[in-house]
């Protein structure tokens, strides 16, 4: 009798989510895929007004309760089209962490877009990120503005000269007839010691070579606003510090404000 019961317990548990093969496994049965692609489809299928309004945040890294509070604050504001989670989605590069953060950010009323951060690349993190979110360098155009999201986590490749990919950026930051302006989005800002020093000048030159409205980052865990030849380079504060940036683009003009919660 006891043995039968024991077996039933085993069968019950083996069917649920408790079964982990390794904290470093790339996916489990419930892991979502292509989050960025799916969320962009959702964005394009939502009726738009003439204002682009989005949140710039980053560094969710283990700050789950703070992330949940931020989602509640963002949901209360009207007219926000989407949210950028600009890297360090996870702290240890683990699947469980990215799943928890996605669970929290899925409660946003609007879609969110996850950009890769340095912490997302440790251990098996790169495989977890690319399977869950998609490529590390990607672009989308929303209401005539091209958002160029890219990997600037140079230290993770030991400053090999390949991150950020200047050639990819040059290709994507080329104006066309339909694209009026650009916004660059990444995790590590070019002024950081974690950015490849040898690429810094060429990177800024490349970003500024087209009608760029702003370059947006996270990583520093403190807000930073600086101008490179009149183009704002904005660094948002971290989720762990309970502050984000709200960015608006109206008639080709970009404005921003920081919101603490």
């Amino acid at each position: 009798m006891k043995i039968t019961l024991y077996f039933l317990i085993i069968v019950f548990f083996s069917s649920c989510e408790l079964m982990e093969y390794s904290p470093n496994q790339v996916f489990d049965n419930n892991t979502p895929q292509d989050i960025n692609k799916k969320n962009l489809e959702r964005l394009f299928n939502t009726p738009a007004d003439d204002t682009i309004r989005f949140v710039l945040t980053g560094d969710s890294q283990r700050a789950y309760k703070n992330a949940e509070d931020m989602v509640a604050v963002v949901n209360k504001r009207a007219g926000i089209d989407f949210v950028f989670l600009a890297g360090d989605i996870s702290d240890f590069g683990l699947l469980g962490e990215m799943e928890w953060v996605n669970q929290i950010f899925s409660n946003l009323k609007m879609p969110y877009i996850g950009v890769v951060g340095n912490h997302d690349l440790v251990a098996n993190g790169q495989k977890v990120y690319t399977r869950m979110y998609g490529p590390m360098n990607f672009c989308f155009t929303y209401q005539g503005v091209k958002f160029v999201c890219h990997n600037t986590n140079s230290r993770e490749v030991n400053f090999s000269g390949t991150v950020p990919s200047i050639s990819w950026l040059k290709k994507e930051l080329t104006p066309t007839e339909d694209i009026k302006s650009f916004v660059a989005v990444a995790h590590v800002p070019p002024t950081s010691i974690d950015f490849d020093k040898n690429l810094q000048q060429e990177y800024i030159k490349t970003v500024n070579s087209c009608p760029t409205l702003a370059a947006l980052y996270a990583h520093n865990h403190s807000e930073e606003i600086r101008y490179e030849e009149q183009i704002p380079y904005l660094v948002t504060n971290a989720i762990v510090k309970r502050q984000f940036m709200l960015v608006e683009i109206i008639n080709g003009k970009l404005t921003y404000e920081s919101i603490a919660y």
């Binding site: 006891k2 043995i3 024991y6 317990i9 085993i10 548990f13 083996s14 408790l18 079964m19 982990e20 093969y21 390794s22 904290p23 470093n24 496994q25 790339v26 996916f27 489990d28 283990r62 700050a63 789950y64 309760k65 703070n66 949940e68 702290d91 240890f92 590069g93 683990l94 699947l95 469980g96 962490e97 928890w100 929290i104 912490h119 440790v122 251990a123 098996n124 790169q126 230290r155 030991n158 762990v240």
Partner: protein
């Protein structure tokens, strides 16, 4: 660092093949049981050999190799060492013993170039990331039912709950206990042991 990694590999291989060493004086190395486990954070499947420790076999030490195939979230190769203690036992007549709550600890080591015992100081400087990506520490609670199949021979079925250092570091970080609960970070494995 590389030398240490090779040493760990050699130690692990020796542990695996020690029962094959028939030389005199090495009989103490003959393991007391073999183990096959599903999940439990040390592989999709893992196999290993174990030893009984202490009086009345209240403790055990196991050495396992685990594998996660690509279509299950790998590929991962994992070596692990487990220690467990059995403070309580319930005998069911002659044929079985139930060990209801066995606390334990285990360590897992992930092979692969994306996993390091410690982050490279030349690349990252001092205290950039403060943990090991290759080695995970776990605490566990298992329960077992041991069925006697002959003199000194037995078959044991068990389930083992565990959580790892990084999950604990997540739950006890700032105000996270309002969001993460123990059931978010507790993982399970089930297995079979054959005693000989």
């Amino acid at each position: 660092m590389k030398a240490l990694r090779i040493k760990i590999k050699i130690a692990f291989i020796i542990c695996c093949f020690s029962p094959g060493l028939k030389a005199q004086g090495l009989s103490a190395l003959k393991p007391d049981h073999a183990v096959l486990q599903y999940a439990g954070s040390i592989g999709y499947v893992s196999v290993g050999l174990g030893y009984d420790l202490f009086k009345k076999k209240r403790g055990s030490l196991e050495f396992n190799y685990g594998y996660v195939p690509e279509d299950k979230g790998g590929t991962l190769h994992i070596a692990s060492t487990k220690f467990a203690y059995r403070p309580w036992q319930i005998k069911i007549k002659e044929f079985a013993t139930v060990y209801p709550v066995n606390p334990g600890v285990f360590f897992s080591y992930h092979f692969g170039k994306q996993f390091d015992i410690a982050f490279d100081r030349e690349q990252y400087g001092k205290s950039y990331y403060g943990w090991s990506t290759a080695i995970r520490g776990h605490i566990s609670l298992s329960n077992e039912i041991k069925l006697y199949t002959g003199e000194k021979k037995s078959v044991t079925l068990y389930s083992e709950f565990n959580t790892s250092d990084l999950y604990l570091a997540s739950m006890f970080f700032k105000n996270n206990r309002k969001w993460l609960s123990p059931q978010d970070i507790v993982k399970l494995g089930i297995g079979l042991k054959v005693g000989f």
